[in-house]
Symmetry: D2
Subunit: 299 residues, 4 copies
C-alpha cells in the first residue's frame, strides 16, 4: 500500500469504495447534513454530503453536462428555468450557456452553497453573480407547489433521499405532479436518478415508472461517472413535446456552445440514450411507483 | 455495517473496492497465479485471479457479449476463430453461437479452466465439449507466432499484464504484429483493453495507439461492467475490412441469435461505439506505443 | 497486499480491525444473534457473534485462564459453581480442573453451544459430557433470580450488551444484587468486563463502580488478549473473603493443575492485578453506576 | 458508519488497523521516510512514519515512561545518557527529569524533529532547549561506534527496521556489541522491541536472544500501548549491575519525580516485568540471533 489515508464510501450493503485522501479541505455540519470537501488521489477536490460523493473536480463536467444539455437542447423554449438543488452551482453554470431569461435555483442548504463557492469555485464559475439568476433558500417541494404553468424547464439536481434526509419527498408521484403543474404546456423536466448498474438499478427503474404515471413522454438515459464508480441515471419527462429529436437538430443547436463542452457531443448523446437490452428489460419489468406514503429510501 | 466479511480489490494506487463476501468456494494457486472463486453479495459467484476480479455470475454476460459479438457480426467470415485466454469458457460459449468450423482456444493455465468448469459451469455451459473446439494449454504468444494467414477472427481475452505476470508480453506492438500475420487477409482481432474511466484510461489509450501502428482499421469501444466498477474498454482491429457496418446489416446478422443474448442488441452496439468527447480526446492525445522492451504494467 | 479476504470488526466509532480471512467455517443466525466461525490468518479458528470477536484458537487460553483461575484459587470453597454464558465451553473446561461437585452453566443460545461443539471442539474438550455439569438453556438473569445462598463461585462470561441484545441487563446493579443473593455467605463472583485500553475504558470502570455499590471487596484486573487487540478487563467481587491472598497460597493451590496451564502462573497473576497509575486513576474518578433503567450500551 | 475518513495501518500480513482521521496536520517526505501527523478520533495527534504509528497524544506517556524510567531508576549513575533516535523529544523529556549532566541525542532525520517540534510540542516540552542536551544529526550506529566506555545509560528509541529503512542495522548483535563498548563498566541499555502479542512475537524474542549473546543481564518487559493496539516490548540489558532491584529502592528513587508521571509507578513496574507463562516460554524457545548479515525485517 502506498497510501494510508482513505475516504470510505459505502454505496450499498454489499459494496464499499475507498478513495485515497490527500487533503481535508473542509469538514463540518449544516442543520441538514455532514458536509466535507476533500482532495482525493484520483478525482481532485470532491464534495461529499453525509458520506456520499456528490461531485468531483476531475469529472463533474460529465455529470453536469449530462444533466443539463439534453433537456436544454430538446426543449423549444428555455426562457424560464428552475433548478431544484444544485448547490455546487455547476448545473447553473451549464444552464447559463443558453439564452435563458430567468433561472431560479431553490436549494435548502445554504452551507453547501457557501462551502462550494469557497472550496470549489470552478463549479459555479461566477454563475451565482449572473443577473438572470435568483437564488432561493427553501425546500424545493414547498417552492414548486406554489408555482403553476411557469417554467419551460425544471432540472432536479438533488441528493438521493436517505430516510429522513432533506430530499426524502422529492422523488414521489405527488411531487412530480406538482412539477408538472409548475411547467408550461410544452415544458419538460429532468432529474438525476441514481445508479443504473444492474445490481443497484431498483431506484432508477422506480423513478422511470413513477414519472410514467405522470408524464406522457419519459426518456431514461445514463452515463458513467468515474467518481461514482457507477453509470449514473437521468430521466427526462415531457408534457407535450416528443424528446426524440434528430441528430441534425441537436448538432445545429449545439454549435454555439460546443466549444465550452468537455463531455457532451452528438456521440455522447447517442450513447446515453441507447440503453442496452438488460437495462431496457429492467425498466420494462421492474420498479415501483414511489409515493409520499411509500417513499423509496436509497442506500 | 451489516456485513463483516469482505473481499478487498485494489484497482489503482488511489482506489480500493470492497465486495461483501458470502462464501469462499475455492482458494488456491497455480504456477501462474492465485485463483479464487467467491460468492459476493452483489455479484454472485466471482472468479478472481491475483486479487483482480475476472468475471462475475450476475454480469459476465455483459463483458463476454461485448467482447465477442461485434467482431463476429462485423467479420464476413467466421469459420476459423482463435481465442487467446478465455479460461472461464464464456467467450467460447458466445463464439459457438456462430457457424464456426474450428475454434482454437489457447490458455496457459489449466487450473483456471478446471476451477471454472467445476465452480462456474454456466460460464462455459458445455462449450469445452463441442467437437469444433480444440483446447491448447500453451502461452498464447508462443502459439500465435507459429501461425500464418489462418484465422478469420482472433479474440484476446487475457488478464491485465501485472509486472512479470503471465500476460506481460501480450499487449505489445510485436505481439500484435504476430497476430496480424496469423490472421487471413480479411481477418480481424479484438482485445479486452482495461478501464476507460478517464482517470485510469492510460492503458486503454496505449492499446489503441499501439494497434494503430499495426492495423489500418482500429475501433475502440466500451461498456460498463458492474463487477469491475468501471466501464471496460475493447479494441477491434481489422486488416482490410472497414468495421463500420450499417445498423441494418447488424440487425440481419443478429436475428438468428438475438434470443440468446441478454446485453447485446443494436442499441448496445451503438452505445458502445459512440465514445463521448473526452474519451475521444484522450485517445487522440494520449497513450504510448507498447513494445516488448517497454511493456506497460497495469496496476 | 498479499491477502484480499478480510473480516472487518468495528470495535468503536473510531477504530476498525481487519482480520485476514482464510476460511468461513460457519455463518448463520440464531434467534439471538449472528454466529460466525472463521479461520483467520493470525488467530486460527474464531467464534464471532454479531461481528464481535468472542474467542480465537490461538489465544482463548489467555482469556479463559484469566477469567477462571484467580477466583477459583482465591475462593476457599469451589464446590458449587455457576457459569452465566460461556457458550464455547472453555470456561467450563477450566472450572472442571478443580474439585467442583456441581457446575451449572446457563446460556441463552443453544446454537452457539452447538456450533462451538462442532467447529471448536478443543474449546470445551469434552467438558459438556462431565457428569458434574448441568447445562441449562435459559436467560442467566431469570435463572439467578430464583437462587438464594447456593453458589460458592459465579462466573459471568457473557458478550457485551449491545443495545437490545441478549446481555443487555446482565451488567446492572440490580443484576449484581441478585448474583450476591445467589452466592453463599463466603461466595464471590467474577465477570469479564470489556476493554481496559484507556480510550475505551468507560465500560470497565462503570462495571467496577457498579460492583462497588453491591460488594465490599471488588478487585479489577486485566490482561492483553491478542485477538481482541486490547487488554481485557475482569472484575472479581467478594461478599466476605478478602481476595488479596499471598503468593505462597496461590503457588500451593496451583501446583496440582499448573501443568495444564499455558498462560496463568504467579507472574501472570501479579501482572494482571498490578494496574498502572492511569488505570487506577480512571477507576477512581470515572464510570457510572449501571442500572436497569439506565443500562450501558457497549459499542 | 459515522466516520468516513480513516488512516489505514497494516501491522502484519494478516491484520490491519483503521484509525478514524479527523485532521491531516502534516504530510511530507524526508530523504529517509514518509512523515505524517494526523489527528485521530481516539488518540489525538499522532506521528506516523512510513505508515506506522510512532506515538500518539493520548498515550505517548505510556510508551515513553515505560522506556525511560526503569533503566533510569535501576542504574546507579545516570550522569551521561545517550538517546539513539527519539525524534519526537519525549524520551528526552523523561530523561531530563533525572539529575543527568549530559544527554546526547543522535537522530538521523532532522525533519522528524522539526515536524515534531511544530505539531507535537508537548512531546518535547522544551527539552531540546535544555543546556544539558546535545543534539546530533547522524546515524546512531556511526556515532556509537566511535565512543568507548562513556555512557551510563543508552536508550534506543528507533522505529522498526523495514527492509532497507533507516534502522535496518540497529538491532543486530554487532550493533549491540558496539553499544556495550560505548557504555561504562556499570552501564546499561534499553531498547524498544516491537510487539509482544504472541502471534507477532518473533522480533521481540529475537532481540532478547541477540542481547543475551552480548550482555550478562537481559530483562525483557512489556506494556500495552493503546494506539499500537498491542502490548509493546522493551529489553533492558546490563553489563554488570543486576537489574532486579527491590520495591523499596524503586519507591525511594521515584519519590522526587512521581508527581510528574502518569503511567509509571511501582505497580506498573511490577506488571511490566511479570511476564506470563506463554511469553516466558516463547522467549525461552524462540527467536534467532540477529546479525548484520542476516538482519531481521519487521513487517
Amino acid at each position: 500500500m502506498k497510501n494510508w489515508k482513505w475516504y470510505i464510501e459505502q454505496t450499498s450493503d454489499n459494496e464499499i469504495i475507498l478513495h485515497s485522501l490527500r487533503e481535508i479541505l473542509y469538514s463540518g455540519s449544516s442543520p441538514y447534513q455532514r458536509i466535507e470537501v476533500i482532495r482525493s488521489g484520483n478525482f481532485g477536490r470532491c464534495l461529499i454530503l453525509d458520506g456520499k460523493m456528490q461531485s468531483a473536480e476531475t469529472d463533474e463536467f460529465i455529470y453536469h453536462e449530462a444533466l443539463v444539455h439534453p433537456i436544454m437542447l430538446i426543449s423549444n423554449t428555455v426562457e424560464k428555468v428552475l433548478i431544484a438543488g444544485g448547490g455546487e452551482g455547476a448545473t447553473l453554470r451549464e444552464v447559463l450557456k443558453y439564452p435563458v431569461k430567468e433561472v431560479i435555483m431553490v436549494d435548502l442548504d445554504r452551507s453547501v452553497i457557501e462551502v462550494s463557492k469557497k472550496y470549489l469555485p470552478e463549479w459555479s464559475n461566477g454563475a451565482f453573480d449572473d443577473p438572470r439568476v435568483l437564488l432561493e433558500i427553501n425546500d424545493a417541494r414547498a417552492y414548486i407547489e406554489k408555482v403553476k404553468n411557469y417554467f419551460d424547464v425544471i432540472i432536479i439536481d438533488l441528493p438521493e433521499p436517505a430516510e429522513g434526509g432533506p430530499a426524502y419527498l422529492l422523488y414521489t408521484k405527488e411531487f412530480y405532479e406538482k412539477v408538472k403543474e409548475a411547467l408550461t404546456e410544452e415544458g419538460m423536466m429532468v432529474t438525476q436518478s441514481a445508479s443504473t448498474a444492474i445490481h443497484n438499478i431498483r431506484v432508477f427503474v422506480s423513478i422511470v415508472r413513477t414519472l410514467k404515471e405522470v408524464f406522457p413522454y419519459v426518456k431514461p438515459y445514463t452515463v458513467f461517472v468515474p467518481s461514482f464508480f457507477a453509470p449514473w441515471g437521468f430521466v427526462l419527462a415531457s408534457k407535450k413535446i416528443d424528446p426524440d429529436i434528430s441528430k441534425e437538430s441537436i448538432k445545429n443547436k449545439l454549435s454555439s456552445i460546443e466549444e465550452t463542452l468537455k463531455f457532451y457531443d452528438i456521440d455522447a448523446h447517442q450513447a446515453m440514450f441507447s440503453l442496452p437490452k438488460h437495462i431496457k428489460n429492467a425498466i420494462e419489468k421492474g420498479g415501483v411507483v414511489i409515493r409520499d406514503d411509500s417513499p423509496l429510501s436509497f442506500y
